[in-house]
Subunit: 472 residues, 3 copies
């Protein structure tokens, strides 16, 4: 034990005299890690415990007293204990009167209790200044010191002075406090560390479903069909050739799905004649995950780009190319230069490259630090104008790439059209509706609705006209 | 109407009891959207109107009173009305005494009025606590709830307590308040949502001008010349071949234009012998848009990279390559391996790749969140040292690529040099001047000037020497 | 002099009347630049000097008084002077009583003095409100106005009102204040502008060392060996071929080095049976620079990707390919299609592309603005789960690429194994240990330890069991 604790001496002893004394209730894992961190940051630490003499696992250099004594010596008390122990604090309400109580607790589930732990604590001890903080940092993170992740600590309290006091302690430990306002924010602050990409779940399911479907479609029409009818083993297609069909197809579908809810919303608003009504729930959900859908689409587009650029390096491709030349020479049959092929090849490459470029531009502008520097007008310009341009370019890319193949039924396998046609269905629907929606007469009506105009029955109209003169 | 309003019930009724009552003056679009948002966030909302009985368009669950009654019941009043209606508020000055007035108004033009709306309001109602907020969020954004853009709300006020009160309301609606200080900032806060990429305009014009010029130059020398003198149709060049000349040429020009004003500034300072004098206006403008110029240059370099990597996939390229092999075999004339070609090809590729790599590094460090984590010393190291290294590598890339072609006058078309020489003019000027400026004797003088040294006439010198002894 | 000063008139004179008067002690470079900036931002400026009549180098439009007179007229005084002149301010302690003193000073070295300049100043003038600010902005940056770097100004003070007053001045000059808490932060704020990528030094040394070693290894086995034994000059390899071996090899080594310290830490904790002991110093250092190591690894992987994609464009490659075809035809010996080669080629390309994709994903999530939006659970999911997936994919990529070459001793040059085997040593060690560590029995123990469990001797155990019942 002695040997162990010799490692626990504070890192910067020269600071000790300058900083305050803090108290920690609870000698569990988080309590100990927090105490060690505070010691290392130059604070002197007093632990509060029911049975101070029996406590042996605390960092060296700290005092251990009973709760009341410990609380009396400090103005700030960290409560490193579970919510269900809070009730016993009521006994200490005299001692804790006017003290700053820092609630560092977390729950096991999102919205586990009707009110947040910090608000519950404040209701038990109305005389204390409750501050919610440090719950977003794990004991392991405090301990390991290698804080390469977020250094942000959310702080909220109904008492401004107490809040700023705790924010200074946060800064003293090398972390960055973020003011989240009053204790009303405590619920969100307590839920925050329990989340695991909640916004990404739906887009991920959609993406996984589409990916599996298109992959199987391609395997059926390209590998299985060839194996059965042409007796040729092209199973190696599943490594590069088929992924390079799946990624662009799903990417284009997802990009179209980003803009489809906007089209739906406009149609619903046109039909209802007002914007002051809530959308169906699925549409709300869908609109909220558009950014994530777009980013998955971008990731797939990126993979498609690299898979395409890698083509000339592939063994099977260069083998086939070399064989083609050898056969041309043997048969003494030089193929003519086809202008139409040149135009087609260069056109879809140009569309693809420009589409990919705007795709990436959209991705960059959705980085939090970039989107925070643009205002709403600019953001909508980028996401709407550039977004539709991207969709248009990528759809054109797929169309020119496919050319007339979707018409040659003789090449259909099992009556299934070529895979690229799958990719074009949703984008074409979105683009056609968008073209209709931006025709002047309809566009004008939507603009009116979004500026607050409402279509009304005759009787309502009269009232409204009357109001217009009065409305301030 | 009943059906409509049934959609307007608050989302989280369980919160209602906890939060404050807020008042909104104005039942226009923004007023209604704001009221709905506040209801959904758990506030109880009272509208103030001239004729409360005639108002029918407000969300369900709110009270509508006349202005004075509504104001009396709340401590916070949102003014969702136009500036030109503010004057009538003077009548209510007694009721509004000590209240927090939130000015959410925007103007139609930048700097439309001599003072900001918020300052104007404060001058009309000196007894009220005016806070500017929420103007950067549109009614549509409040309404749709899909705030994938900036969630930032700029808040400024001369009254700190009122400001923090409003900042808590902002947090309560799920937005992020940003403290912008006193009401002096109101003008900037009001101008902010009206901007549409003001810093990007000049760089975009420069870029568009150069792009069109270089494109036409290439079309003339490559397509039109070939059509006239060689009777060959290579119009398909305009899709990939010519863009892949235009993008790198303009990119290199723009990159050089990023560093040219710094060279100018140094020469002006050397000539004037002081840094305490303002630069000509065009130079100030130019220096302010260097970052944007650099980012456009990076975008073009990125396009150049993809256009280049796509070369082996192009139909025309692979056709020409295959034909070359077939002709070699038919003529039985094997070409020898040229060491000089290997060195040249690998050298310009290596220069190009490394240049592109540093280009991207510069781009990443100019992301707001990255440049905020570096200090000035680090930023200047990256942007100046790495920037010039990038310029040097890209210029070398273009030179080795072009090799001796600019000397072979027989290949000039219409006496016009090959396009790549256009790209080299500005970079070479910048690099030559930079090499002169970093020679020890000149560099030392510039460093002195930038540290505050000034060249003076004889009489001034005497005074200054005297001052030096006294200066604190 | 007259001509010079005519350039110094404020930019926005219309604002002058609205803003406060500030005082600057010191007419050196920073004092003058600051004064000019304040004038341009609409403040009226009074300089304090020992000999006001002799001062001639200040911007036009300012007053120059002696120190006491100047201080009396303003509530805010900027001290643009060196720390060693602070002692004379003690004479003015009566006049400076209650004034806000802004310490803008910097030192020449990190931790030059035992306490920070601002704390030293506060100890000399206990009656003044000392605020540390503006030291992170250079005179040149203030002057040039082209603040494309960080606009952040760190502000700290023990007096909250004074701090917010200065933060408003910072905003008034177009910069962004950042509250760093009390004067305890002054030391860090003063050290900040002196740093030059301190966290990057160790990763850079490691990376440079590995790069040079692998480069020389490749030059020896590929260029020198060929020159000596096969009498062939392939020195042009050093431009593209060898870099394209060095970059992936070093990248994979560095990526493994990112995860090696985590494995070490787990083993140490398992061995010691506790997490409450400090790691050896080198391990702490290593863990702190993991992010930087990973970013360098990503940069090298990026270069490897471009160098690889550029292969088909290289002269030497296309020459060799064409020659191969011509020889096949001449010898009338068509090579067969090898399924194994196809599978191998496509497999390592697929592994490489997916590995690169996750590499980039890791890079994006380590951008400050992105990592700030994820909580610890999410960050650890990405960095640990995705990180190991990336390492696994890249290791598999290298293994399939190398295939059985490391077994063919006849192709070893000077008994040296092929270069790619170097890359595989550390990743394989890391992956093997990781596989052992995630076996259920060991993983459970590590999880226990990281949750605070400690292995104890018999006597300790008894005490601890007792404690467990009491621990709150």
């Amino acid at each position: 034990m002695e040997k162990l604790n010799s490692n626990l001496i504070p890192l910067r002893t020269d600071f000790t005299e300058k900083k305050d004394r803090i108290c920690i209730f609870g000698t569990g894992d988080f309590g100990r890690s927090l105490g060690l961190k505070m010691l290392q940051s130059g604070y002197s630490v007093i632990y509060g415990s029911r049975n101070p003499n029996a406590v042996s696992m605390v960092p060296k250099g700290v005092e251990v007293l009973n709760h009341a004594e410990a609380a009396q010596k400090c103005s700030v008390i960290f409560l490193a204990m579970h919510r269900n122990h809070y009730s016993f604090l009521a006994e200490l309400s005299d001692v804790l009167q006017g003290k700053i109580l820092v609630d560092v607790s977390n729950n096991l589930k999102i919205n586990q209790y009707p009110e947040s732990n910090a608000e519950y604590l404040a209701s038990i001890l109305p005389g204390a200044k409750v501050v919610k903080a440090f719950n977003t940092v794990s004991a392991w993170a405090l301990q390991s010191g290698t804080l390469d992740a977020s250094r942000q600590v959310f702080v909220c309290s109904n008492d401004n002075i107490a809040k700023h006091f705790v924010m200074d302690i946060v800064r003293g430990t090398g972390l960055t406090p973020q003011d989240r306002g009053s204790l009303l924010a405590a619920r969100d602050v307590e839920n925050y560390p329990l989340q695991l990409f909640p916004m990404w779940r739906l887009p991920m399911y959609i993406c996984a479903g589409l990916t599996v479907f298109v992959f199987l479609y391609c395997v059926m029409t390209m590998v299985v069909y060839t194996a059965i009818y042409e007796k040729k083993d092209v199973s190696y297609y599943i490594l590069v050739t088929i992924p390079n069909k799946v990624f662009p197809i799903v990417s284009l579908m997802l990009l179209a799905l980003v803009y489809l809810p906007g089209v739906f919303a406009a149609i619903i608003q046109l039909h209802r004649g007002t914007k002051y009504s809530r959308f169906p729930n699925f549409l709300d959900q869908w609109m909220l995950c558009r950014k994530q859908l777009g980013l998955v689409a971008l990731a797939y587009a990126f993979l498609h780009a690299i898979y395409t650029l890698v083509i000339p390096i592939r063994y099977s491709v260069s083998f086939r190319r070399n064989n083609g030349i050898i056969e041309q020479i043997k048969s003494n049959n030089t193929r003519p230069f086809l202008y139409s092929s040149t135009w087609r090849s260069d056109t879809y490459l140009a569309f693809g490259i420009l589409g990919f470029f705007f795709y990436i531009l959209l991705g960059i502008t959705s980085l939090p630090s970039v989107s925070n520097t643009v205002n709403w007008r600019e953001f909508r310009f980028v996401q709407s104008k550039l977004g539709y341009l991207t969709l248009l370019l990528c759809t054109a890319h797929a169309m020119v790439y496919g050319w007339d193949r979707f018409l040659i039924f003789s090449r259909f396998k099992w009556y299934l059209p070529p895979a690229y046609t799958l990719a074009l269905i949703i984008p074409c629907i979105v683009l056609i509706f968008k073209f209709i929606l931006i025709t002047p007469c309809i566009d004008q009506r939507i603009t009116q609705i979004r500026q607050g105009w409402e279509r009304m029955s005759k009787t309502q109209k009269d009232t409204h006209l009357q109001n217009d003169n009065l409305a301030i």
